[in-house]
Structures are given as structure tokens and as C-alpha cells.
């Protein structure tokens, strides 16, 4: 399997993407911004379609659109808690409009129809060395930002009010985090396709968070699960006829269901309240 250069590149890219997705997805799940994450993921599609239509590189479209959309979501009226209907309606509208624009670009660029499935569902094959290098640079930048601001972001994510009282700029943190999420998503979607980014963001993170309540351990676990899922999925996809996105989603979901079941069983056994996530 490793005799083929494209498989080596698939593993390199997959690992980079899994590390970034596992780490940033962990904060996304903690902050309950799964809907925003999914919307950002989907925004990559019009970005790429528009860039291809205009004849430039799809990578610019991904980064440009995802960055812009994360600022747009950050500008929506935001408040935590139960009442966030206005925000969620706004996010939903951004998402649907982005997809509609993507469809418009695709139909304006005739003959591109078979490319749609590649954009939406991605492909691990045919990744070039340059792409791997770009992925690595962007992932390192995103992870560097996360390491630099991680502690304060964690504080702001867990208890925004107390963090604000202690002088943490909660609002700025929120905007910066959305930008980071947009960046990560733009990167991952170039490999997994815009519709499946979400599985790498949400599945390892929610599995890890239901297994342990300790932040550092759970973050590390999330990254490790993401890498394991990606490697397993690429290997299985290489030997089977079904696409890698399906295997990523299936392995991820199996991990999540297993973790949830284990937690329920554990709490029932010990007879105490479940660990809050």
C-alpha cells in the first residue's frame, strides 16, 4: 500500500487533517458551536466552486469563503443558553444561501457536474506534495494559535460569565475561535469534501468528551481518536470499493456510540450521576 506515492500522501494529509480537526473540533463541541462548524464546513463548497468557475485555485476559494463566513457568523447576535433562535436562524440562512450560491457557480460553469461530487465528498487520492505542504503550514499555524490562546479559550468556553468578570475578552475570543474554525474547516474540506468535514470535527471530540471530563486528557484523546479513525478509514477504503468519507463517518460514529454506551453502563454500575459534558 505504501509503495504508491499517492497513498503515502493520503496518509500524510489525513494525519495533518485529523490532528487539526480533532483539536479544533474539541473546542467546537465544548462551546456547543456544532451548527456554526457545520455551516462553515459547507461554505467551502461555494468557495471552491466559485474559484474554479473564475479559473483560480480552489484553495483560495476555500480559505476566502470560510474566513468570510466565520466573520459573518461572529457578527450574528450571540448569547449562550437555551434562547438562541435568532442566531441559529441566521446560521441556517447563511448555510443555505452559501450552498445555493455554490450550485449557481456550478451551473454557470458548465460541464463541471461530475466535479460536484468531488467537491462535496472529497477524495483522498491524487493529493500532491505541494498540497500536503500547504496543509501542514496552515495546520501548524492553527494549532499554534490554539496552543497560545488555549487556556483562556478553555476558560471562556466553560464559563463565559466568570471569564468575562476575570478580564478575559470573551467576545474577541469567540470571534477568533470562529476564524480558527473556519481556517481548519477550509483545510479539512479540501481533503474530505465539504459534507464530511463535520464528521472529523464532531465525532472524535464528542467521543473523547464523553469518556473523560479532564480537559487535557480529553483533548489528547480527541486528537488520537481522529488519527486512528482516519488511518483506519484510508486503509479500509484502499482495500474496498466504497469511499473514504463513508468509512470515516462510520468508524467515528461507532466510536461515539461505543463511548456513550460505555458511559451509561458505567454510571448505572456505580449508581451516580453521569459526567456532565
Amino acid at each position: 500500500m505504501f509503495a504508491y506515492h499517492f497513498m503515502v500522501n493520503a496518509f500524510r494529509a489525513g494525519t495533518i487533517v485529523a490532528v487539526a480537526g480533532g483539536a479544533i473540533g474539541w473546542f467546537m463541541v465544548l462551546r456547543r458551536q456544532t451548527f456554526a462548524g457545520h455551516t462553515l464546513a459547507v461554505v467551502g463548497f461555494p468557495g471552491a466552486a466559485g474559484a474554479v468557475w473564475l479559473g483560480s485555485s480552489a484553495a483560495w476559494g476555500y480559505f476566502g469563503f470560510c474566513g468570510f463566513a466565520s466573520l459573518l457568523i461572529a457578527a450574528l447576535p450571540h448569547r449562550g443558553g437555551e434562547q438562541r433562535s435568532d442566531e441559529s436562524a441566521g446560521i441556517g440562512i447563511i448555510q443555505a444561501f452559501a450552498l445555493a450560491s455554490g450550485y449557481l457557480f456550478v451551473s454557470l460553469y458548465r460541464g463541471f457536474l461530475n466535479g460536484v461530487n468531488a467537491l462535496l465528498f472529497g477524495s483522498f487520492l491524487g493529493i500532491t506534495d505541494t498540497q500536503v505542504l500547504v496543509l501542514l503550514v496552515v495546520a501548524l499555524a492553527a494549532l499554534g494559535a490554539l496552543v497560545a490562546g488555549g487556556r483562556r479559550l478553555l476558560f471562556a468556553s466553560i464559563d463565559a460569565d466568570v471569564a468575562a468578570a476575570r478580564g478575559v475578552p470573551v467576545r474577541t475570543q469567540s470571534v477568533l475561535f470562529l476564524l480558527l474554525l473556519g481556517l481548519a474547516v477550509a483545510e479539512i474540506s479540501q481533503i474530505t469534501g465539504t459534507l464530511l468535514v463535520f464528521s472529523l470535527l464532531v465525532m472524535p471530540a464528542s467521543t473523547a468528551q464523553s469518556l473523560t471530563a479532564r480537559p487535557a486528557l480529553s483533548l489528547a484523546l480527541s486528537v488520537m481518536i481522529a488519527i486512528a479513525i482516519t488511518w483506519a478509514a484510508i486503509t479500509v477504503a484502499y482495500h474496498s470499493q466504497y469511499p473514504v468519507g463513508f468509512w470515516i463517518a462510520t468508524f467515528g460514529f461507532a466510536c461515539y456510540v461505543g463511548a456513550t454506551a460505555a458511559r451509561h453502563w458505567n454510571t448505572r454500575l456505580r449508581g451516580r450521576a453521569p459526567i456532565p459534558t
Partner: protein
Amino acid sequence: MIAFAANTTGLGDMLGHPFMRNAFVAGTAVAVAAGLVGYFLVLRSQVFTGDALSHAAFTGALAALAIGIDARLGLFAATVAAGVAMALLGHRGRANDVVIGNVFAWILGLGVLFLTVYTTSRSAGNGAAGVNVLFGSIFGLSTSQARFAAIVAAGLIIIVVAIGRPLLFASLDESVASARGVPVKALGVGFLGIVGATAAEATQAVGALLLLGLLAAPAGASLRITTHPYRALWLSAALSLSAMWGGLTLSYLAPSVPPSFAVLAIATGVYVMAVASSSVARQIDGRRVPAIGVTKTSGA
């Protein structure tokens, strides 16, 4: 001016084409149903659930195509089942967003599997089938399909109007409603079943990926415009309907613009205008516009 004259005569013939008539018949019913259901969806902050259902619609339709049965069968089965399942998993008929996220990411993975099975096993089918499910093909509806869509949508409208009052109560104040004997959990489950059926309907009109806009945009706009619940409910339906009619007309006049994009673009435009006018009104008044289910904390 010449182009304009040509357009107006084009507009006169528009309903002369059977495919346009079918599109209007199905589109009208679907838009009203989506506007009504979307209002409750936004009010209950369940837009993310609608997002998940749109992916279930994709998977359901492709599963049916892969097996070789009518796509609509798979569509309705998948969305209604997914809606009810998500409601049952959650507390009081509302699902947790992490649960939703995990479930629909996997459902989407299954959709990719079915797409692969479909495109590899049937030489007649190609990538376009997937694209049609994702982005809709309202101009391709046959007369019987359009009639069926309209009848189902009419049924959904009747159900929503019938359960509107208790559902409104349960959505605005769950605890008080439940104390007053409103079956909150059953309403939540039933409501998501209805959302599922509406999603399946809307998939035929604007496609699985875009139905979220038809559910969220008119409702979001009407909640910005008025605080009166019933007025907002019907306004949402009216806005959805005008987006649908406007979009179909626009797409007829400019054939390079796909109908689903035109519908979504108008719906989004209406939402943006509603947001802009409500924030202007607030600045003029110098006070917060009280809105049901809408919270604002921005300092402006």
C-alpha cells in the same frame, strides 16, 4: 427596453408551459408548508435539527435510488424516521446538538455510500442523480408528482394549523405548558415528524441541501418584523410563498439561474432586509425591539 418587452411577453406565456404549471402547483404548497413549519422550527431553536433532516433526506432518496424504488418513498421514510428518532433521543422532544451532529454526520456518510452504490451499479444513473437530490429539480416534476407533492403539503398545512395553538404554547414556555397539561413531549416528537415530512416535500422543490433556507429564512424574517405570534406565523408562510413564486419567475426569465438558487436568493434577501430594518428601527427608537424567542445582547 427591447429585452424588457421580450421578458413581459415571456411572462405571459409562463403558465402556458406544463412544466412551469407543475412547478407552481408543487412550489406553492411546499412553500406555504415550509413557511408554517419553519416558523415553529425557528421559534423552538431547532434549526440545526432541520439541517440534520436535510441530510437524512439526501441519504433516504439515494438509498431508494440505489435499491431501485421510488426516491420519494425513501425520502419520506428517512426524514420522518430521523425526525422522530432525534426527538425521542432528546429531552422533552428536543435533541442535544452533539447527538444531532454525530447522527447526521454518519447519515451523510451512508448517503455517500449509497451514492457510490448507485453510480457504480447502474450504468444509466450518473453523478447527476445525486446533484438533483442535493439541489432539487422543480422544473422536472411531472404532473402527477406535482399533484402528489401539493396534496401532501396541504395535509401538512392542515396538521400544523390544527396543532398550532398548543404547539405555540409548548414552544414559548415549555414548563408552564407542561404544568397546564399540554403533552409537551408528544408535541415535540410529532412536530419533528412533521418537519421530517416537510423536509421530504421541500427536497423535491429546492433540494436536500437548500431546504434549510426555505425553512429558516422566511421564519427568521417574520420573527424580526412582528412579535405577534399568529401574525408572524402567517407572515412567514407569505414570505416563503413570495420567495418561491419570485424565484420560479426569475429562473424562468433567466434560464442560466437555477430555480433553487433564485428561490433561496430571494428568501435570503428578505431576511437581510428584515434584519436591517429592525436594527434601524431599534436605533431610531433607541430601545430594544421586544421579540418572541429572539434575544439580543449587542450593545448597539
